[in-house]
């Protein structure tokens, strides 16, 4: 940053030294970027490292970074010691996230199609309505949902979560999808219709290829938010339909603290989202920007 006033004051300095200086500040900035990246990653690295330590090595001060590695934390988590299996909550989470993501796509894609490719009159009002539902705090509708679920026997059912997660992610999904579909050039659609292409052909041959990255990004965001949700899951599920985040919270309070085991649990439960997110990070960047603004 110090280079800024210097260039302003002396614009006619020899070209060679400017280039050298720019290279040096550039190198500094790269270093800063690397340090920031490591700093942000450090807590996660610490979580993973701790998960491979024994309980005694995990709880030391100063930290024992170089202590021997063990799988005990994971063995504990998968129920070797306590007999509480993490599989039902993991499967519940997977069911709820995948099912609601599919439902979100099934509802959002046609809606976004209507809003972008064949704009409906007053369409921006409809879009605002979608977004405004996202701004109503979810917690304000929780009690009636709870009472209805209690009276209809839907309490502690994973399908109730599927419906709620769908409503939670649908507005953002429509919002993102609409922009992706708006990327489809109108000329291409007109050309297709002159050539006599039907709805099916238009959708599969012209719209889908352009919109696919957007659909992927939307699905990923929807999956992440469903997988992560805690409040609804905590209030509306119990023994049968509890999801991973609920399992994680009960896990700590009911058994005192075992740091290595908690870290192992946190790692395992975060893993699906981490893998999906790393694999599709380009789509994520693209999806967030296009879906958002373009």
């Amino acid at each position: 940053m110090t280079s800024v006033p210097l260039t302003l004051r002396r614009p006619r300095r020899p070209a060679g030294s400017t280039a050298r200086r720019r290279r040096r500040t550039g190198g500094m900035l790269v270093l800063v970027a690397w340090l920031c990246g490591i700093a942000f990653f450090l807590p996660v690295a610490w979580m993973v490292l701790t998960s491979f330590h024994s309980e005694t090595d995990a709880a030391t001060n100063p930290p024992s970074v170089g202590a021997g590695l063990t799988l005990d934390g994971y063995r504990e988590f998968f129920g070797a010691g306590s007999g509480i299996s993490p599989w039902p909550p993991l499967i519940n989470s997977l069911t709820a996230s995948v099912a609601s993501t599919l439902l979100v796509l099934a509802l959002a894609v046609p809606a976004a199609y209507a809003l972008s490719i064949k704009p409906v009159r007053k369409w921006s009002d409809v879009l605002f309505f979608f977004l405004s539902t996202k701004m109503l705090p979810l917690v304000a509708g929780l009690l009636p949902v709870y009472l209805i679920a209690q009276n209809t026997g839907m309490l502690d059912s994973i399908w109730l979560l599927v419906i709620l997660y769908t409503s939670m992610n649908l507005p953002i999904a429509v919002w993102m999808m609409r922009s992706f579909l708006a990327e489809v050039p109108v000329e291409m659609l007109e050309a297709a219709s002159t050539d006599g292409a039907g709805l099916h052909t238009t959708l599969t041959r012209i719209v889908a290829p352009v919109a696919m990255p957007g659909i992927a990004a939307t699905a990923l965001i929807s999956f992440i938010f469903s997988w992560n949700e805690l409040l609804f899951a905590r209030v509306l599920t119990g023994i049968v339909a509890g999801t991973s985040p609920v399992f994680l919270t009960s896990f700590v309070t009911s058994q005192g603290l075992f740091l290595a085991k908690v870290c192992a649990a946190a790692t395992v439960i975060s893993l699906p989202v981490l893998i999906a997110g790393f694999a599709a990070q380009d789509k994520l960047v693209q999806g967030l920007s296009l879906g958002a603004v373009k």
Binding site: G26, M47, A114, N228, P245, L274
Partner: protein, 326 residues
């Protein structure tokens, strides 16, 4: 859609004879066409109205009822009693303040940090992909897991990493009397905020990075040729281009941080002045079982959100304006 192409030719013929019967048919065709356009929207619309709006209406109704699940016999019309109770409740007022403080701090700081990181990552350098992967990791960790991580593995006084590092540094200088602050007790709100900033900065960075990468490069090149300093380029070219992305990141961040439950619930359990609105409602409903009062709280929160949302939506409508012409 096949019907639509057929209809597109029909009105032309209809104009020529201009008989009443054909005008009616044209009108009917137009109506079918309008519905064909709206039809794909309807499932999503109906679904959202049923799942989000109807429960809210029920919340409004319950907010006027005296209803505590622990006292099932004492149930009846309460008029504005629940609202009166909420407004005179000290805890409720402080949780409003906490929510505002928490949201503003987290959104602003993570937006600024995210902007800085996005600018750093916008330059091409070796290993940029790795740095980006490292940076987005906090956003991908399950929020409950990250809250547990901060609470137990980092903040903990006796074996957390933060105090552990202090011990280690002090040990390097031969001191066995390092400072061991109790992070969560000394500054509970800051403890929650730091963990949320850590979690949301990557999200802000992703949006802003995408914004930077969509910036037209020729204008920047031209400015650089004309001798503009990097700071001038940032102020006059990059920032105006990023404005919409900044607004959007702030809007989405606010939507999610206002409703935060996980961090408050896990790190402090709402203690020490960290209870925000969602947590307070959760407590009234789930622990105190006071359904009437919880509903009144919910209605008030929604009214406040609508107030904020009106401003936010005005911002978003400026985002959309350019597009409406499409």
């Amino acid at each position: 859609m096949p019907t639509q192409t057929a209809e597109r030719t029909r009105p032309v013929e209809a104009v020529v004879p201009a008989s009443g019967r054909q005008a009616a048919r044209a009108r009917r065709a137009q109506r079918t066409k309008d519905w064909a356009r709206r039809a794909p929207l309807l499932p999503a619309l109906v679904f959202l109205i049923i799942v989000t709006q109807l429960p809210f209406l029920a919340t409004v109704v319950i907010s006027f009822i005296r209803w505590n699940a622990l006292a099932p016999d004492n149930r009846g019309f309460a008029a504005f009693d629940n609202y009166k109770a909420v407004f005179t409740d000290h805890a409720m007022r402080s949780s409003v303040l906490t929510t505002v403080l928490l949201t503003v701090t987290v959104v602003l700081v993570s937006l600024l940090l995210g902007l800085g990181l996005a600018l750093l990552l916008d330059r091409g350098f070796r290993g940029r992909g790795i740095v980006r992967t490292l940076l987005i990791t906090p956003f991908l960790v399950v929020p409950v897991a990250s809250a547990l991580l901060w609470k137990h593995a980092l903040y903990n006084t006796s074996y957390g990493l933060l105090n552990g590092v202090l011990t280690w540094i002090w040990g390097l200088f031969g001191s066995d009397n390092p400072p061991q602050p109790d992070w969560m007790t000394d500054s509970p709100l800051a403890a929650v905020e730091v963990s949320l900033i850590w979690q949301w900065t990557p999200f802000m960075m992703l949006i802003l990075l995408a914004g930077l990468q969509s910036r037209p490069t020729d204008a920047v090149e031209a400015a650089r040729m004309d001798g503009a300093s990097p700071f001038d380029i940032f102020r006059c070219l990059t920032l105006p281009h990023l404005r919409r992305y900044l607004e959007l990141a702030a809007l989405l961040g606010t939507i999610y941080v206002v409703q935060n439950f996980d961090a408050v619930f896990t790190i402090t359990s709402g203690g020490l002045g960290t209870a925000n609105l969602p947590y307070t409602i959760y407590q009234t409903f789930y622990q105190a079982h006071d359904y009437g009062r919880a509903s009144a709280q919910g209605v008030i929160v929604v009214l406040c959100s609508l107030l904020v949302a009106t401003f936010a939506l005005r911002t978003v409508s400026s985002l959309l304006r350019e597009e409406v012409t499409r």
